[in-house]
Amino acid sequence: MIAFILKRLAVAIPTLLVLIILSFILMKVAPGSPFSGEKAIPETVMKNILARYGLDKPQWQQLLEYIYNIIFRFDFGPSFVYRDRTVNDIIAQGFPVTVKYGFFAFIFATVIGVAMGIFAAIRHNSWGDYLAVGFTVGAQVVPNFVLAPILVLVFTLWLRWLAGGGWNDGQWNYVVLPVIALATSYVANIARIMRSSMLEVLHSNFIRTARAKGMPGWQVIVKHALKPAMLPVVSYLGPVFVGMITGSVVIDLFFSTGGIGQWFVNSALGRDYSTILGITILLGALTIAANLVVDILYAWIDPKIRY
């Protein structure tokens, strides 16, 4: 197992390097620059700006210096657009916001989704099942950019219970709507995966055996069916976890939370080179890490899997 983890980590580093180099090239190839704007900048001023950010150096040198600073100084450089901020500052501000509501959304989606999936599977072809399936289909076809304004309309404008946007240091009434808006479609996906996988497991021989020896129904589910039925859900949860804590771009933008997704979009649109790269690397590293965790969990859940 240790060897497996080390091997995966050894692959992760070149993967990240390739990610950095590719992002760097794509970014530089894209038309526009961090200093493109309504007002053209006189040549003399532009020269000063480029010199200030080292953008007057050859591209390969910029890339090498950038990688050097990340590896040896953990410094992602200054933002080109927010001139009083470094990329480290930006990540330090935006990432905790997204992690907080992403984490709650993840717990919410997993708990509700798994419970709903199990319930629907046990009550197969009953009204409860139809209701759960109906909900999952409904929640899946309503995208979060449609759901979010509806939530705001109901809970902010009509009921006046919750704030319709902003973050306010993560006060609970600012967090609830982003969490629900982000989690709902995941609840649906998890419930569907859980339901079908649970149905499959419930029809397998070892469950029939457990039932035949007179084990109570709930014990059969919890002790025998749950673990194997969770396998497909766990493999789905890995990317979901990364997707959630790294920020749903739509949710961040709609609720103006100041989260990392909002920064990602704005830095891409504003060609804030260093911020785009910094966030890309962060998200890339998290994705690699989450996939590793999923693989480890797999081995733990399914004894058949050995690395």
Partner: protein, 539 residues
């Protein structure tokens, strides 16, 4: 020399007379103030560094306008009112201005001195700071600014000098009677030398920043909110009523409207196309006021343009065939004004030129357009196809769809529209990599040169790449003239004839504001507002 300056003297006299009073929140005796004096203002996600010499956009300027104060502020009607300066004198030809400063303090208690202004202004042109607004200092004629930006002269050569702690002398490279009108711009704010030098790029962080405005920075979370609290060290703090100003980021304008209805913000923009409905629903809370900007289409006037656009008749025909009234009344519906010339009609001291097309009916314009178009050799047998670029936005799209429809119907012109990100559009405009392009310009200070100087063949902002020696000469002469008005008019006439741009409309700022908000400068076309001049009444 003396005679030429009659108008300049009149302007300066008018400015001086208005300097007698200072401006602050003017609460009537019978007004019932709200217990909580908090003003919540919606902004887009564009609050950048709160460094006055680095501010590029309007929303960030709204924040720094509360945190810092220049020599003069913009009054409720846009006319300068004293800020840190109590008064000024100018020499006969308006090339040297001497400002007398009041006893004002920084938020840390230090006195605000003339040296702080010298430091701030030198900083603006410092090649090491590399401010994108460095050119502004040269634009308003402060001596040697352009050479310093270019690295040809040292910072100390800038035409600004502290005679003593309370006296600031500014030397201009040309007669500039309107110079006091430029002083409310952040680029010309003072900054605290000690703090800026000690803290470096971190000086604008809430824990470090020191300002001389009526408010101090309490929290700065870009993308979410910026919170300002009243500054007890502000010289006119006794008159300040609003305790806290919140700039709340709401990216989506419809979301802004919902949150405004929910009472989460006091002011937000009216979403495109909703003005008539909202106006009917709550006439006392919806405002449409003139704004200091002009919307236009840029025409590529360089050699890279297609042959058709090199033909003046074609450009004139296209320009005439645009029915501005339809754009304004049917597409925009927000109180905008049709434009036939470039300079915004609300510019101080500017008389609108009499553009021939403006006086015609649309039928007459269309007839003339068809005639010119046919004379240029185009028509049903030889249809014209042109490319148009704009930045992705429903509003911009609606306008060009309407315009291209008019061109199609009246002249048989086909338009290939392509939308793109703003960064790409602006780069392509600046390099004349287009045929026709969406464009807009907002004045940086309230004098016509802020618009007409874009016609200068040497201007970086001349997106058309238009070069007309007569216009260049007029612009140069206007800089030295006591009354540049006739020259500006002549420039507009030449532009109307040559059509380097097709003006579409003059902006209106269309917004929703809670009726409890008082003291907003509705008559200031630049919409420069100061929370210190406002107050909130009880419901």
């Amino acid at each position: 020399m003396k005679l030429r300056n009659v108008l300049g003297v009149a302007i300066a006299a008018a400015l001086l007379s208005s300097t007698a009073m200072t401006y602050a929140a003017d609460v009537p005796a019978d007004a019932k103030l709200a217990a909580e004096q908090v003003f919540k203002y919606r902004v887009l996600d564009n609050i950048r560094a709160l460094d006055p010499q680095l501010v590029e956009d309007v929303d960030t300027a709204y924040v720094t306008n509360q945190l810092f104060e220049g020599l003069y502020n913009a009054g409720p009607d846009g006319e300068p009112v004293p800020g840190v300066a109590e008064s000024y004198t100018a020499n006969d030809d308006f090339t040297v201005f001497t400002f007398k400063l009041r006893d004002a303090k920084w938020s840390n208690g230090d006195p605000v001195t003339a040296q702080d202004f010298v430091f701030g202004w030198q900083r603006a042109v410092d090649p090491a700071l590399a401010s994108t607004y460095a050119y502004f200092v040269g634009l308003v004629n402060i001596a040697n600014a352009d050479d310093i930006v270019a690295g040809k002269k040292p910072l100390t050569d800038l035409g600004v000098k502290a005679i003593d702690d309370k006296t600031l002398e500014v030397t201009l490279r040309a007669s500039t009677p309107w110079f006091p009108r430029t002083l409310a711009h952040g680029t010309l704010f003072p900054v605290n030398q000690k703090v800026v030098t000690e803290k470096g790029a971190d000086w604008t962080k809430p824990e470090n920043i020191v300002g001389n405005g009526a408010y101090v920075l309490a929290e700065n979370s870009p993308g979410e909110r910026v919170v300002l609290k009243r500054n007890p060290n502000y010289w006119n703090n006794d008159k300040t009523v609003i305790e806290e100003v919140q700039f709340l980021t709401i990216n989506d304008e419809n979301q802004g409207l919902t949150r405004w209805r929910a009472g989460e913000v006091d002011q937000t923009d009216v979403p495109a196309g909703q003005y008539p409905a909202l106006e009917a629903e709550m006439p006392d809370q919806v405002y449409s006021v003139p704004q200091f900007c002009t919307y236009y289409l840029s025409v590529n006037m360089t050699d890279s343009a297609p042959d058709a656009l090199k033909d003046k008749g074609v450009r004139q025909a296209l320009n005439l065939a645009i029915d501005r009234d339809i754009i304004v009344n049917a597409v925009l519906q927000g109180g905008q004004q049709p434009a036939y010339s470039f300079t915004n009609p609300n510019t101080a001291g500017f008389t609108m030129p009499t553009i021939a097309a403006a006086g015609m009916t649309q039928e007459e314009r269309d007839a003339k357009a068809k005639e010119l178009f046919a004379a240029a050799g185009y028509g049903p047998d030889k249809p014209l196809t042109l490319d148009y670029i704009y930045n992705t936005s429903e509003a911009h799209k609606a306008i060009i769809v309407a315009v291209s429809q008019m061109w199609k119907e009246k002249l048989g012109v086909n338009i290939n529209m392509s939308d793109m990100e703003f960064a790409v559009l602006s780069d392509r405009r600046h390099t004349q990599d287009y045929e026709l392009a969406r464009n807009a310009w907002c004045g940086d200070y309230n004098e016509a040169s802020t618009f007409v100087s874009l016609y200068d063949s040497k201007s970086e902002q001349n997106d058309s790449g238009w070069s007309n020696p007569e216009v260049d000469k007029l612009l140069a002469d206007a800089k030295l003239a006591a009354d540049p008005g006739p020259m500006y008019e002549q420039i507009e006439q030449i532009a109307a004839e040559e059509v380097p741009i097709m003006p579409i409309y003059f902006y209106a700022k269309v917004f929703l504001q809670k009726p409890t908000v008082k003291g907003w400068p509705y008559d200031n076309v630049e919409q420069t507002w100061y929370a210190k001049d406002m107050y909130i009444t009880a419901e």
